[in-house]
Amino acid sequence: NAGVTQTPKFRILKIGQSMTLQCTQDMNHNYMYWYRQDPGMGLKLIYYSVGAGITDKGEVPNGYNVSRSTTEDFPLRLELAAPSQTSVYFCASSSEGFGNQPQHFGDGTRLSIL
């Protein structure tokens, strides 16, 4: 059982480049989330989705975009990468929203913007 799969695991980007972080889950979860994790800062919610075709902003959405065309996939798009976007990005999913069920996380994408 794969759970939540994120690709790539590592990536180095130059300032101004763009890329898509991929996330797919095989648990048929309606809720999916994108977080960024910075040292000493905990996790910050970037975007979330409550089902296919429905997305909404989290706490730190600037510089990112998402789409949710299927239940399984929830890609995160970085446009015009900036050094402030250097971070570890985690995708997660849950069967119910936020405060009701555990979130299942992927192993993260470590992104450096140089």
């Binding site: 800062m41 905990g42 405060g99 299942h104």
Partner: protein, 111 residues
Amino acid sequence: QQQVKQSPQSLIVQKGGISIINCAYENTAFDYFPWYQQFPGKGPALLIAIRPDVSEKKEGRFTISFNKSAKQFSLHIMDSQPGDSATYFCAASMVNYQLIWGAGTKLIIKP
């Protein structure tokens, strides 16, 4: 008012000892308080969670103590083992509201 403050930032405990990590919150509407465990190179995984209708929840060597009046909750790891070495995050939430995460505690258990 949406912060969750976690302490200490790092903690070293001898094998067999008790590890204690504390969290405090401000929003009295929060009603779900999970703890997540994260190993290096991995995503966080739910360890144990509590709701404010109970003051304590125990699962094996892991216990959450909850003090509603003080708006504090803590994780106790009994008989700490080297395999418990990880980063621990507390969080708080309520229905239809995002999880608010603490900053994390890096726990090292010395053999």
